[in-house]
Symmetry: C2
Subunit: 406 residues, 2 copies
């Protein structure tokens, strides 16, 4: 897609709180039984911000409130996130509650409400307990910053927190990009909600930030699937507060591609962490499609492969059942010449020239027992490439999602 020297990019042990001027907190306010359930990211100065949202027809109330905040101008200074309750499908009351949450946090911080974004994840169709939200905001005022507490507060049935951080050089200034995310599952299992928060101290023009966030989201977060269900609350939010002191970035800046690559690394890293922690998952599945007619077609096919229940169960059973990969590709609307397609797994070619290829089942089985497996498909239709990430389908997934909500 674009070539950038790896040397200009360093992964560090950081978080959303690592870029200059950012801090994060998390508390327990009582929406969950005992775990942290309310978090906040804060920037010492207003940050140019951009967001991409779920495409669901049923966008949740907090999504609407965040859109309202970003409509005035593209600046945000804080985002408040609760878990356990999605505040989705809750009508006028839900919208009122989300606006009140925004107002209360703004009052606590002494900033305008339009500088606050609101985000929720959890069960659909239940009203927020606003008394607990108010208590939580008071607690957020009192406690010390801790990015770990923030990362915990946004989780539902996730089994691990998800963070990443990269540093890059722009205009001889160190620019830091940090990220946090949550994946799929709920205490009261409900939806595969995905939230991502990116912070950076880069100075960047607002239109450029929105464009690059959309572009990178399409090849990172939008390329993961746990169960094919799109949440009412999905959101990825990026905040850039300019504290690094670089010249304002846009597509014409000579280091634009460095920033873009850094953002891609951050988003792809979080996306893979989400897929790996999919409900009940034991294996991260990466599908790479090369030589498609376009990147879009390659991305679509890659996502179809990792989204196939039959591929997911085959990986779960360490079974190199490549017919299922054929089924997934065959069903796509992309350009496919059946005679040209090749399927590779763990260094072995399984299918080529429209015929099965001899391969070692033992080696393939062994490879599929890794915690991370990669399926490579060669199309020979053009230069399009795409990667997608998913996870295996296990008894545990059925168990988590078949259990009664209460």
């Amino acid at each position: 897609m674009f070539q950038v020297s790896q040397k200009s990019m360093t992964k560090i042990d950081g978080s959303v709180a690592s870029p200059k001027g950012f801090s994060a907190k998390g508390v327990h306010c009582g929406l969950r039984y005992s775990k942290k359930d309310l978090g906040m990211i804060f920037s010492s100065v207003p940050a140019v911000s951009a967001a991409v949202y779920t495409q669901s027809h049923f966008q949740a109330a907090p999504i609407k409130v965040t859109q309202n905040s970003l409509k005035k101008d593209s600046y945000l200074q804080a985002v408040i996130v609760n878990s356990a309750n999605a505040n989705a499908c809750t009508g006028e009351q839900g919208l009122f509650d989300a606006y009140e949450t925004r107002q209360k946090l703004a009052d606590m911080l002494g900033i305008e409400p339009e500088l606050v974004a609101v985000s929720s994840t959890g069960v659909i169709g239940q009203y927020l307990n606003m008394e607990k939200i108010h208590q939580g905001i008071s607690l957020l005022k009192q406690i010390e910053p801790s990015h770990i507490n923030f990362e915990k507060a946004i989780l539902t049935t996730d089994t691990v927190t998800k963070r990443t951080c990269y540093q890059l050089m722009i205009d001889d200034q160190t620019v830091t990009i940090g990220g946090a995310a949550k994946g799929s599952g709920m205490i009261h299992p409900n939806m595969a909600t995905m939230l991502g928060f990116i912070t950076t101290d880069a100075s960047i023009e607002e239109g450029a930030l929105q464009r690059v966030l959309r572009e990178i989201t399409d090849i990172s977060f939008n390329q993961i699937t746990v169960d094919g269900d799109t949440s009412t609350n999905d959101m990825v939010l990026a905040m850039a507060n300019g504290c690094a002191g670089n010249d304002c970035l846009d597509e014409n800046h000579e280091n634009w591609s460095v920033f873009k690559k850094g953002l891609q690394f951050v988003c792809a890293d979080l996306a893979k962490q989400i897929a790996r922690d999919g409900e009940g998952a034991t294996t991260l599945i990466e599908a790479e499609v090369k030589g498609a007619k376009s990147n879009l077609e390659a991305q679509m096919m890659a996502k179809k492969i990792v989204g196939s229940n039959l591929v997911k169960t085959a990986v779960n059973g360490s079974d190199a059942n490549w017919g299922r990969i054929i089924a997934a590709i065959g069903d796509s609307t992309a350009s496919v010449t059946a005679d040209k397609v090749e399927i590779h797994l763990g260094g072995q070619c399984l299918f080529k020239n429209s015929q099965p290829q001899p391969f070692s089942e033992a080696l393939a089985k062994n490879y599929l027992e890794n915690s991370e497996v990669k399926i490579l498909v060669q199309m020979y239709e053009g230069n399009g490439t795409g990667v997608a990430w998913g996870c295996d389908l296990t008894y545990e997934y059925v168990k988590i999602n078949a259990s009664y909500r209460t």
Copy 2:
């Protein structure tokens, strides 16, 4: 869609062998360990025939051979079906084998090879054992007709045979329409292959048969989903031999709607039998969408609901988790006004006016414990209606599909 008096239509305990002039057989030739694996339908006279095929880019060899038979003219007199091996992704050799199968059956019956259709279901990427196919064709010559043996011979991991039969009056003649089908699963688990065979003694114009088969397939077989994966071998074949003695049917015949309704009953009946017998399934899920902008949008949404892993696991756990139905509808490209949507389950309204509705969880849980459940969604966008069928997602599904092929 179209109104026809129920009185003119009778369901009888029949099969593909019930329409006048049709017979069916099934034998064990050794592709499976001990079960029947090779079947044949035969008509005493050539029958006007029509077929719809998988849309996969990797159409299997037998599909290509059947297309070749129907290209000469629209007449078929026999169809041969093997289970255990899909003869898909087997290159030139596979195509050669499918043509040879057609020739051998034609020789045995003493008819032209172009009057024979070929169909296969089973594991992908393995060559057919032609010696066993030859032996099976010899056996087919010797044994007595038995529609039950045919129904058994086309199964893979199906747990029950699937047949249906309706009788109707056309031109004061009794017309019979029979059907057989197989659903999803394999001895060597591989793909959700779906085969359907419809026979009728009606006289019908060939173009009209092809058009109505396509139309009815779209609202019956194409509205079921077990796991969202499309096979390389799916086919529905209809044969009409004219033995009933009615005036030739087409869209202008005064009893056209009677025939069409009869075909719809036959196809929908088989489709539901397939969904109910989905791999590992315990519950048939029917989703009906009313008031969509068009029938097509209603069908699409209904299929999205029954195809959602989260809906499927919720039904498995008897959990009235309607947020998951919202997620499925919300994610569709259809016209959706979030405020208008209503969700009903077992006589209770769960969601309306964009707000959760009070309902009895106990009653809902009780309803979901039935072996057949219906989800009703009201859209209030127009007059479009659509129905789709699926099944719950169970541990057993994961078990069947995670087990190693050999």
